[in-house]
Amino acid sequence: MIDRAEVLHVARLARLELSEGEVDRMASELSAVLDHIETISELELDGVAPTSHVVEVGSALRADEPRPSLPREEALASAPAVAADGFEVPSPGA
């Protein structure tokens, strides 16, 4: 119920590389799980509101006041590559 082409399409959306062997295995494993998930298509759910939050909460807004944030050097400390005080990435066009 999910074929190779769909697996490759979804992998592209998810920015995941899959090896040749993984594509077929993923198709069969996802199909088995989706078959189970299909059981909810039999339920009568017309007029049922989807859950957006499980516990009632009031407004989560706070006053918009300036305060110190993470220093730049700490924010960059774990980056694989840094250049010119920023995160360095390969060229999108390469």
Binding site: I2, E6, V7, H9, V10, A11, L13, A14, R15, L16, E17, L18, S19, E22, M26, E29, L30, A32, V33, L34, H36, I37, E38, T39, I40, S41, L43, L45, V48, A49, P50, T51, S52, H53, V54, V55, V57, A60, R62, L70, E74, A75, A77, S78, A79, P80, A81, F87, V89, P90, S91, P92, G93, A94
Partner: protein
């Protein structure tokens, strides 16, 4: 065995307060045991005891699941994509426990990004169950559960998204509490499924769970979904269950994969509850059986979004090949994520993709509403709903790794509660075939004090020896 190891965390705190034991002695004993861990339960052990002052937790060390960020300490969520990552800040739950007087002894192994029921999905190898080292400790908080069960640490914290505190607690013979959604701040917990994730204690007994949980609660400006708990958490003291109404779901006996020994232990404890004064009747949760289906849409959907941040740019692994940004992303994520995480990202991305959103995510969120409604209706007649925690005992390593769906069905009894946002506890419920089973008690939102009291009364009646596996 040192006498010190026979004491619960609350007893240790009491002895330290009375100056019958020193903090150093407790720290050194457990530090040595954690460092000698041969269950692969720990991923990092502290070298020195930080000074945590005088708080209610009395200097009794704790361990935190790897996904809790701790400033300057490896926090990898069990994933190779975060190998060696040392965050610049500390999770609120950890900060509150430390501020209450407990020093951090170590970080514990887990299923990668908390996705798993066996701890076999860790990027750092599986954890072994101290009851039988050929078996899994449960997951995803398997390291925390095994470490507490084996007496490597007095108590620990984990996170529960679909059962990840309660199920490993059950399979390892300890107590695990999943609080009401929002009761504990999620700030600094590396996210799996944000609408479900909740931190909770894993402890030797119910009193320890109450004590640890009592310092974890509270509204946190850093987590907009956190709430002030309406009640201060008390240490439990109930000796009976007079007037307590327990509902047993009508499909417990026919649940997929339920083992006869687990069912027998469950029935025996229901009978004990009646002897303690509880009124027991069958209840109906008609949509709970669809919990697994709804969960395996909602949790992977949220995970696919939460895990988009691991792209080799700001932290963690980067696998570069001089062929551009997109190739760097896809290669990094292929190398850095394990098989189960890739599977869930694929499942979630599929469920959210154009044309499928309403059929999967929309429907699953409606099923979630129905599950919450079922519990609401049940709690009009009953104080608690009780079930076995897991349909089976700890299974052999490798037994379910080739069948994702069979693995997912382990969560049959634990998934409905986080979907409804309600609290539930698992307590040790004796043995089946020599291995621990768990008894689960679920109640309405913010009923933790009542749940802890009922669990305490049952714990005394069951008389399980949690010190049994301390080597």
């Amino acid at each position: 065995m040192s006498d010190l190891l026979a004491l619960s965390a609350a007893q240790l705190a009491e002895r330290i307060r009375a100056r019958e034991l020193s903090r150093e002695e407790v720290w050194d004993t457990y530090r040595e045991r954690a460092a000698a861990d041969d269950l692969n339960a720990f991923l990092w052990v502290a070298a020195d005891a930080p000074d945590t002052g005088d708080g209610p937790l009395g200097g009794v060390p704790f361990a935190a699941k790897d996904l809790f960020c701790v400033r300057g300490v490896p926090s990898q969520a069990g994933s190779r994509i975060l190998e060696g990552y040392r965050p610049p800040y500390t999770a609120t739950a950890v900060e509150k426990i430390v501020a209450a007087g407990a020093p951090l002894l170590g970080k514990t192994n887990q299923d990668e990004f908390a996705m798993g029921s066996s701890n076999e999905n860790s990027g750092y190898g599986p954890v072994l169950n101290p009851w039988d080292r050929t078996r899994v400790p449960g997951g995803s908080s398997g390291g925390s559960a095994a470490a507490v069960a084996a007496g490597q640490v007095p108590w620990a914290i984990g996170t529960d998204t679909g059962g990840s505190v309660r199920q490993p607690a059950a399979l390892s013979g300890i107590v695990g509490l999943k609080p009401t959604y929002g009761a504990v701040s999620r700030y600094g917990m590396i996210a799996f499924a944000s609408s479900l994730d909740q931190a909770g204690p894993l402890t030797r007994d119910v009193t320890d769970a109450a004590l640890l949980f009592s310092v974890m609660t509270g509204r946190d400006p850093c987590d907009a979904t956190s709430l002030e708990h309406p009640e201060a958490i008390r240490l439990p003291s109930a000796q009976d269950l007079q007037g307590v109404r327990l509902g047993v779901p009508d499909d417990v006996e026919s649940a997929a994969g339920i083992e006869p020994g687990v069912l027998e232990a469950f029935r025996a404890t229901v009978a004990r509850a009646q002897e303690l004064g509880a009124e027991v009747d069958t209840c109906s949760l008609p949509h709970a059986r669809h919990g697994i289906a709804a969960y395996y849409v909602i949790a992977p959907a949220e995970a696919s979004s939460n895990l988009a941040r691991y792209d080799g740019v700001r932290y963690g692994l980067r696998v570069d090949g001089d062929d551009g940004l997109l190739a760097m992303y896809t290669r990094t994520r292929h190398e850095g994520f394990g098989a189960e995480v890739r599977r869930r990202i694929m499942l979630g991305t599929y469920a959210l993709s154009s044309g499928y959103y309403e059929a999967y995510y929309g429907r699953a969120q409606r099923v979630r509403t129905k599950i919450a409604d079922d519990f609401r209706a049940a709690f009009e007649r009953f104080d608690f709903v009780v079930t076995p925690t897991s349909p089976g005992v700890a299974f052999p390593l490798g037994a379910k790794t080739d069948d994702p769906l069979a693995m997912y069905l382990n969560d049959f009894f634990t998934v409905p509660m986080p979907l409804a946002g309600i609290p539930a506890i698992s307590i040790p419920n004796g043995l089946s075939e020599g291995l621990p089973t768990g008894f689960q008690i679920a109640g309405p939102a913010f009923s933790e004090n009542r749940i802890l009291d009922a669990a305490y009364a049952l714990e005394q009646a069951i008389g399980f020896d949690t010190a049994a596996v301390h080597a």
